[in-house]
Symmetry: C2
Subunit: 224 residues, 2 copies
């Protein structure tokens, strides 16, 4: 089946106290987004890459591609008001059927194995998302009280989240709902089962300056 | 009420691929445990500090105290087989009634405000533990399926966890149970309500080399 990835890069960098959007910050000398795009291209150089960017960032991104000699082919699509609307715009740009992964632009350290697992499982079962175990003690609040929950039953969700195109397209015909925290929650609402695969620990979401520093050190470890 | 803190430092450093136990590794030039002990001493210099260490590490710790001129008074107690048994040994060493906080030795960046909140709330209500919000999407596994859970109802639990001495002493008379992932789960089992206060983001648990690096950078930010 034809493979697509929609890379969603919507942030404006406010949490970073930085005027540069976090997906454009340098990691090991290249923009974060360069690493993200490269991860998918390295997995499969025939993959169709769709990058969703706020309209205000498109010209800057093109400049960065020129400066950094980024020649990996990708289509740029304008983002929407929320992540939900951005993904929807990305989906509209895809015409043929296939497997569509949706990935956070600020997760540059997704492994080849994680990418491979989500496409392979979605091809067989229709849906696949990467998850990790929970190491912290967790409590659940209900009414005015709270109780411990068995963390062995909880999983932390990452991206890329991968779906057969008919499943994800149908899901995104729903109206926006604030309970949609990721693509799996959008798809789940249509009654589809979500299949879980292993993620990778390094696949962190870069949202603060400390995260960028962690990513910098993870890259050094991974390339040593 | 008289204040105690039991600092539990049981790790052997295996996850760190390092023969030095993680609580002895250097952070900003001083052993991690030095920072942890200092956090409580800075909060209140009359606090009674009980450090629980594996018997094999006690002489090394004493050497480190001499080398680093650590003069903060603290009592050393020998650890047990699991964290539960180590805390129990720490509790046995306390004779007077009071407020007893229990803290992970490898959380050196607990803030003065977090420490203050747990003692103040436990003094009023009997129990207090610090918690943080969950930022990731979370799924819950049940039988062979899984579903999204509302992360707004979940909290990540930190230490120090603080209790009136009669409450924590009674709780630790129970037999060990593998569901005891922290002191709150031990106390909850006796029917006591657990009260939540805000933790602090920097109060991370140092269990990997990357965590140590994050802590190093957090210290630089906090002291700038």
């Amino acid at each position: 089946m034809k493979k697509y990835v929609i890379i969603v890069a919507g942030g404006f960098g406010t949490r970073m106290n930085n005027s540069v959007p976090k997906q454009f910050l340098l990691l090991a000398g290249k923009p974060v987004l360069f690493h993200t795009i490269n991860a998918f291209f390295s997995y499969n150089n025939e993959i169709s890459i769709i990058l969703v960017l706020p309209s205000s960032q498109i010209s800057k991104w093109k400049e960065l591609c020129d400066e950094n000699h980024l020649t990996i082919p990708h289509n740029i699509v304008e983002g929407g008001e929320t992540r939900f609307h951005s993904v929807k715009n990305g989906l509209k740009s895809i015409e043929e059927a296939g497997l569509i992964a949706i990935h956070d632009g600020v997760r540059p350290l997704v492994s080849n194995e994680t990418i491979s697992r989500v496409y392979n499982t979605a091809e067989k079962l229709g849906t696949a998302i990467p998850v990790l175990s929970v190491n912290d003690s967790i409590r659940e609040i209900s009414n005015k009280t709270n109780k411990s929950v068995n963390r062995n039953n909880l999983k932390i969700v990452q991206t890329p989240q991968c779906f057969k195109s008919e499943i994800i397209n149908k899901a995104y015909q729903q109206s926006y709902n604030e309970m949609f925290t990721d693509d799996a929650t959008v798809v789940e609402k249509t009654g589809e089962e979500i299949f879980l695969v292993d993620g990778n620990n390094e696949n962190i979401k870069i949202t603060t300056a400390i995260d960028l520093l962690i990513a910098e050190n993870l890259i050094q470890q991974l390339t040593n």
